[in-house]
């Protein structure tokens, strides 16, 4: 099951941001970004909410609060990255630092706060994967 989830993450999550690359390639203005992202989020919302609503789902306040916090962090990260780029820092610095930095933060937090013990082979994978992500964002 875990392996299947990892494959789903690998195939779906990366492709989800592909649209922001396609829009300029189609010659569309950058002002279209916000309406596009509104529909993008709304489609995701309907895709997960619909099956829940059909099963007569009622949400608890706990999920509302955690969801708001996560949405805020996601948009905060995007805005910070956009501001760094607008301030003149090149993309080959911004992307490796933000993405590589977040992987490092999660690895440290996983060890310190969530007591996650990884096999040495997994640590090697985390190191090589982090390096690969940094190289991908530079290239």
């Amino acid at each position: 099951m875990w392996l299947l989830l990892m494959l789903v993450i690998l195939l779906t999550n990366g492709m989800s941001s592909f649209g922001l690359k396609v829009l300029p390639a189609w010659g569309l203005p950058s002002s279209l970004k916000y309406p596009y992202l509104t529909l993008w989020y709304a489609a995701g919302l309907v895709c997960i909410a619909l099956p829940l609503l059909l099963r007569g789902w009622k949400s608890g306040w706990k999920e509302v609060g955690w969801g708001a916090l996560l949405a805020g962090l996601s948009m905060g990260g995007q805005l910070a990255m956009a501001n760094a780029l607008q301030s003149g820092l090149p993309g080959n610095v911004v992307f490796p630092v933000t993405i590589g930095g977040s992987i490092l933060i999660v690895a440290v937090a996983g060890r310190l706060f969530f007591a996650e013990k990884l096999h040495p082979l997994s640590w090697t994978g985390v190191f090589l994967g982090g390096l690969s992500v940094v190289l991908l964002s530079v290239s």
Binding site: P35, T38, W40, I48, L52, V64, M75
Partner: protein, 152 residues
């Protein structure tokens, strides 16, 4: 420039905290589907506000609508899978997988737009492949060690 570097670090902190908060929400036994619904609901609300504030109108062509719907569904399924996976495995590995997935659109754009496969990209893809093998094999070994520990 100093502000730009600070913004860069703030971005890393926000994304890193996002994964940690997801793990905390899982520990607090939040319903995975409901959590993803609320993340997307808040983000939709914010983006709709931004659209009306900056663009003032909401005009999208058919192909753009199709693209947004298809890839939005991909995003929701991806985050749902991430949130589900951290209940079964390590958040460090799942977060790395979320970031490694950036290699897939890079491969697709090489195929679709005929982008050049530079030496740096080739090294990155090779490293990603080796990393995936290490992670999957590492996970298998951890499962085996845990199973033998429980049996003993």
């Amino acid at each position: 420039m100093k502000l730009a570097v600070l913004m860069c670090l703030a971005g890393a902190l926000c994304f890193g905290l996002m994964a940690c908060v997801s793990k905390l929400a899982e520990r607090k036994k939040c319903n995975t589907s409901a959590l993803v619904v609320w993340i997307f609901a808040w983000a939709t609300l914010f983006m709709a506000g931004q659209s009306f504030r900056l663009a003032g109108k909401f005009q999208l062509t058919g192909p753009v609508v199709g693209l947004a719907v298809g890839l939005g569904i991909c995003a929701a399924v991806g985050y749902f899978a991430f949130q589900s996976s951290i209940a079964l495995g390590k958040v460090t590995v799942a977060w790395l997988m979320m970031n490694l997935s950036a290699g897939v659109p890079a491969l697709v754009s090489i195929y679709l737009y005929g982008e050049k496969m530079s030496l740096l990209k080739s090294i990155a893809f090779t490293l990603a492949l080796v990393a995936l093998l290490c992670l999957f094999q590492g996970n298998r070994l951890e499962t085996r060690v845990n199973a033998s520990g429980e049996a003993a």
